[in-house]
Symmetry: D3
Subunit: 334 residues, 6 copies
């Protein structure tokens, strides 16, 4: 069986119930998330073997975060503990034309002091066949970048598949590095690109548009400039409003372009972590199916995630396959 390893910050998510704002509530729900850990749990829920590598606070909040990963069967044996507090994000869930609001408390978190010497990559990547990283990690802090690079070097040496979701967010990248340069450096260790036109333009310095034609051209250029990369996968979100989205996906695997039909998510329960659900589904799919079915699996996983509260995609393989089999009407059998 594949053994996937993910690396990145674990965040505590705090939000009032339903659509409430903090100012009108005194009660919160909490979950744990973070883009890479969301991918890890999603794969574990599909039955995959996963280990997550991170630095987590050495207090009862950190204990709770670790128990949260364990609950889903994600291995926590490579997690290091820190005296700094766990990163947090506060979320007010929007509705209709009201956007959700997020406020972060992560700049001095337990993960922010990660250093290459803190992670034993040899042990962490033991038996690993797939490594997944995102652009959030090198954006957070130099230690994140350098530690990740060490892991990627070893992964490349081991010949394992390396997927990347570059998720470029300009609000991060504050510690004095150039986003494009840093991401480019790390892309050279990667084999599967999970991202859209925005990310490609950011990395290539181009301005392709959203058409399929441009997606193919951009993908070709990316595969040329980063020869380790073999395939690109893109997820396209069409928002009606904050409560109603459509999702489809498309791919270029070096010789074939394919795209899926829109899945219509008429009543969004929670939009957070849906991109990670796509990545998690896609990775599990690529480990078990052909490229197109993997992408379909990822898109259906992404759509299903919109129906769960929290950052995590709880769906299992049967539930995703049910969508692929055409049951998008939520019919249930007793």
């Amino acid at each position: 069986m594949n053994q996937t390893v993910t690396f990145g910050e674990v965040l505590m998510r705090l939000s009032p119930e339903g659509n409430k704002k903090f100012i009108q509530s005194n009660r919160l729900e909490f979950y744990f998330g973070g883009t890479e850990v969301n991918v890890a749990i999603s794969i574990a829920n599909f039955g995959g073997k996963v280990r997550h590598v991170s630095s987590i606070s050495n207090d009862f909040i950190g204990d709770t975060a670790i128990s949260y990963l364990r609950k889903f069967g994600v291995s926590t044996s490579s997690i290091v503990r820190s005296k700094r507090p766990l990163g947090i994000y506060f979320l007010e869930v929007g509705a209709v034309m009201r956007p959700s609001s997020i406020s972060y408390n992560r700049s001095h978190s337990s993960f922010s002091e990660i250093k290459p010497e803190m992670v034993d990559w040899d042990k962490s990547l033991k038996h690993c066949t797939w490594f997944h990283w995102t652009g959030i990690t090198p954006a957070l802090c130099e230690g994140g970048y350098l530690t990740l690079k060490e892991g990627l070097k070893l992964a490349q040496k081991m010949g394992v598949e390396v997927s990347v979701d570059p998720t470029y967010r300009s609000g991060l990248w504050k510690y004095g590095t150039d986003a494009r340069e840093t991401l480019s450096d790390l892309l050279n260790y990667s084999t599967i690109f999970i991202g859209g036109i925005n990310e490609m333009n950011e990395i290539l310095g181009t301005d392709y548009n959203y058409s399929n034609e441009d997606f193919i051209e951009a993908s070709k250029q990316l595969l040329k400039e980063f020869p380790t990369i073999k395939k690109t996968f893109d997820k396209i979100r069409t928002p009606i409003n904050a409560s109603w989205h459509k999702i489809r996906s498309r791919m270029w695997n070096g010789n074939e372009f394919r795209e899926t039909k829109d899945l219509d998510i008429t009543h969004i329960v929670d939009r957070i972590g849906t991109g990670d659900a796509f990545a998690g589904g896609l990775i599990y799919g690529l480990q078990n199916f052909d490229d197109y079915k993997a992408m379909e699996f990822g898109a259906a996983a992404c759509a299903l995630k919109h129906t769960y509260e929290g950052d995590v995609n709880f769906s299992n393989v049967d539930e995703v396959m049910n969508i692929l089999g055409g049951n998008t009407s939520g019919r249930f059998n007793r």
Copy 2:
């Protein structure tokens, strides 16, 4: 005033709040339900007089179930108590393309040991003018079948109206009887058939399709083979997804076919018990209005049920009439 009697298992329903899964929650809401008791409560909420006959656990859970029926004014004087636990079902409420999930714990419940000698039908049917049963009861256990048959025999002798909702579920019927044979036996004591093409095909051994033409043909054949049956009523659900359905109904009363327009339920709150709400509304309607208005009343009651949490239709006559009167836009007067 009519006195309706229902007979069947009372179930405890346990589900996490909102759309949560058990794995992400440690808090549940509970209600009581069961297809026949849902019908009973629905009729009681319309102001009808109803008695429910069942076997309920002799513990504080059973006490709570009985107080739940009493709360709605359903007579519990014919309920017997059992040393076995009350039947339970666990529910995870789906959304959009995610179906709801149900897990039952009922095979050794208090109802599962019902025996004809445990029910005093003479007393239970005193003043009764209408008896309602469903196909769930004979499917659960032989005692259910035999006890029901005793009640039906007496009801027929008393000349009361007998409505049946055969709700065929292949997952039940495990104790070694033939579903078709058993249902056919019991249909001979019944006068009103509340069911669709699937049930008719199952009973008649036919394969009619969903068209109105076939519905009429199937109904005619049913009335021929079961001469006590005088009318058939069908409710048609068109799901967009788990959160959005349309509902309409149609009937054959021996000489006239009628159908209602679709009611559009754009934001489903809870889908459980909506078929029972149709039956409850229809029965109350037939007791008070003509056939077509009764069916319209049932369809509107069914639509309204989608807006209440739990198994029970809370709507009263005015609220259903408001829909029949054309106010489907939820306008409210202060």
Copy 3:
């Protein structure tokens, strides 16, 4: 900066969670509201300076109501305390074709005994530049009418802008006055009319229809009969059902008719207080922008209110401007 003064009853709102009915719950959420106080809080949330004048119960419920106003920065220094209890309304939130239900307990509330001599209008209107009143206040009790009239007289003498939302509800007006006569009396102290065809017809004794042409004609007649009034603003609600509305607005400012496009509110969270959000947004808009932008601001504020639980519009200026800027798809930036 403008200083707005509002006057009217503060109500406690009690409702079960989500779409539950009282009969199926033993838990409530409470907020405070009342049409004028909703306007006050809305303006305060936009950063405006507001004082609310009222009579509130002298118990821990009244203390809580006052702290609720203070929380949003509304000045409570002109509030008087009463031995009578605070007015209450109970709310069951509907869904789809099920209307919301309201039951009031306000006829002998702390506000119901308001008398002109209880309010020190000189002090209450100090520095005031804008006075807002609604037709609810004179409808509740004679003391409400007379006290309001004293305030309006002073406001007119001070030359401040006076906006009125006549919200005619026939269920009120029980203490023996003629609604039309009383409202007409008070309109003579007012300068901005926030209301639709229904209110105009009620006041003018006419029967204009909902067309733009009739709105213009009715407005012209209103401005003629009440020469202090300079502008009329109307908000038009198109309900699909209780969970899905569309909102637009139109205006006549004496020489120009304008209307906005529909805003589509596909998943209503809470419909209460949305008219007040329009008034609050419009007043803040008129204090800061031109007529059309003020109306657009009001309509967007109204639409946003549908996404918040409770009576209050929590949105700030940036959030409303975001809608005016065309982002109605709820996109959020991290």
Copy 4:
């Protein structure tokens, strides 16, 4: 079997969870209560047959109150409906040295307009063998006094037992009657006096102290002045603080003085309705046991009530007998 009838106001109780204050919460729990209805439900929970007579609001709050009585098996067939709102009390539960706080909203409630002609006493007292009233009812309003008196007259004529809990509260009695005179008038129709030295002193115009000697003297004088009264029962509360009380009881039945030992309630869950639990237990006891055991039963019922949230004593006969049998250590058997 005995058929007990109670008469009095039903109140909705609203309180924040646990020990919270309204100002720090936005969530409430609600129950229904009222001193006479508490007695009624308590007797019903012991298996007694009870009917409650009252006037209740004709809205969904009133419907919920009625379903609450029905849930416990209390007959609601003699309840009349009113356009006025149901009476309410708000409660902040204290702890240790912090007293609980109560604020009432009942002066214009549905019960406040009760009139003799509204109650059909012949029908309400059909099959009645025991009538229970309290001093709250004549204190609330003249209609309460007069309606009660009609019922008492009929009860006396029927020769049924009449118990009274005079609970004198000086804060009530505002409508212009003399408490002592009114209570004395009604005591002439009563046979069992449930009250302490305070109530006796108030009625007799004496100043007996709390000693057993004085209790006996006062009882003797009471039985002399009100010859219909045959027995007096008193419940003595020794508070350590708001969270810790001791309870015992004593009696004079015309020829014998007895008292029970203190029951130590070290961790009070809810103190409301504990006096009513004593009355309910005592009445059920007098209907089934000798005087002393009835008093013991009442005291144990009272003690148990302190362990339930809400106004109602949920304990059944076995649970009270368990205390009488000496198990005050809360041992449980699986």
Copy 5:
């Protein structure tokens, strides 16, 4: 490090919040427990390595139970899945003189069909150094008895320590075996006896009393009749009432009697699982400390468990040591 293996039923626990009864609530909290699994989790929380062997339902409830064990780091790799539902117990938490009430739904649970051939003991006991069982398992069903015996035989062959908590409950043992005979059979494979005078009398057929002298005598006789047993440990509970207990422990290890002082638990949060917390603490203690300190550790762990909701002892080694170090006043350091 020691590897402990436990074997027994996993139960879902369902209880209303706080001290509420089911009849007054519609909201439950759920946890998972069962005497052996409580011991397993307790040891895992001390940092011990533990595997739990059981049969769990193959539905989302079973998935949730497994994730619950994983959350605490208990290995679930030897758990088998069953088509039957998970066992359940309903709990109403008492207070003061009100006992807690429990109702079980376990007689046809997933565990009830356990058979020796379903458990791969060779794999389950791999690396095992300590096996723990209780008298609940052989009491539930014959399959439980026989499967346990297979495990014990192998454990004895492997020479591992075997602790037993016989917890005799006469309400169980219904499938037609003799409790004394069956327990005696299994005690021959055991080395550490965790139980009191009741259990010893039941097994030995004696009637020793609770004195230390009798405890020593009974222990001696037990060690004589069951020569594999080397030590006995007893936990003594002195209840003031359901909310206030005292706990101490005593031991006979073949040549020395010792006892600890009472720990005073003045405000019990949850009494369930406290015996299991003693066993868990004792086992961890015996694996790491001398006999007396192990017993002290167990008693302190037991006391601490009374302060946690649910079946599980959440305390870690530091927290227990803090009590042993004399800090029983709950002082905390920031």
Copy 6:
């Protein structure tokens, strides 16, 4: 009227409901606190005029914190906003022998970057008659120390009363200053010392014990070494366990020693902020009563705080006076 000014960090407090641990919950309650702000709110609840000076995050969490202060009537006009997140503390509430646990996330909070130039002390201290500070502020960061010193200098120049609660916590003071030296520096601007033997020993470098004699001696020495200080007030806590404490206080005002009797808090609801409640009560007392009554008022306020959830003392003057008047049994009047 006095105008009190407080200065210090505002913290968000996050804790699971009741006695739950984070690992067993997914729901939190939040309040705001911080030692100085607790004092401010306490004084405001007594009717005092208070302004709090702080630096608060410029996000929706900061908005909520500010609205929290405003809710109690504390002036927030001198609060500055910061790009850093608000400080947080996570709390697990203990019980009996289980201590509460706290984990802080404050080292890089909005307050941690406070600088003297950020606070306009002239404006902040306008009309101020009393300044209160604690030892937490100079312990947190150098900016806290220097900013506070600026405020103290101005306060001294203005001749206002300056109270100090030095609360020495060795876990703070990490930025490289000497606690004793820094505190001593700031004590020279102070007039009222609210602290015990520990703090005096820390500041004086002595080792007085807890006896009254030593308290008097230490106080004399303190008043000698810090001649601006005129009085010392000490609050003595005697914990039985985490759920049961006793509280008394003592004072030396330069010529008189007095002490109060113990107040017995048998059932603690929340222990956080009780020291601040003493300080708040004492300050309000000193502003309105003589020294001894002020101390009594402070001790009663402190005791009452143990009965409220959250950091804040909600009690008003009447409620504290009720305790001083001898009603410590929580009796309530209706």
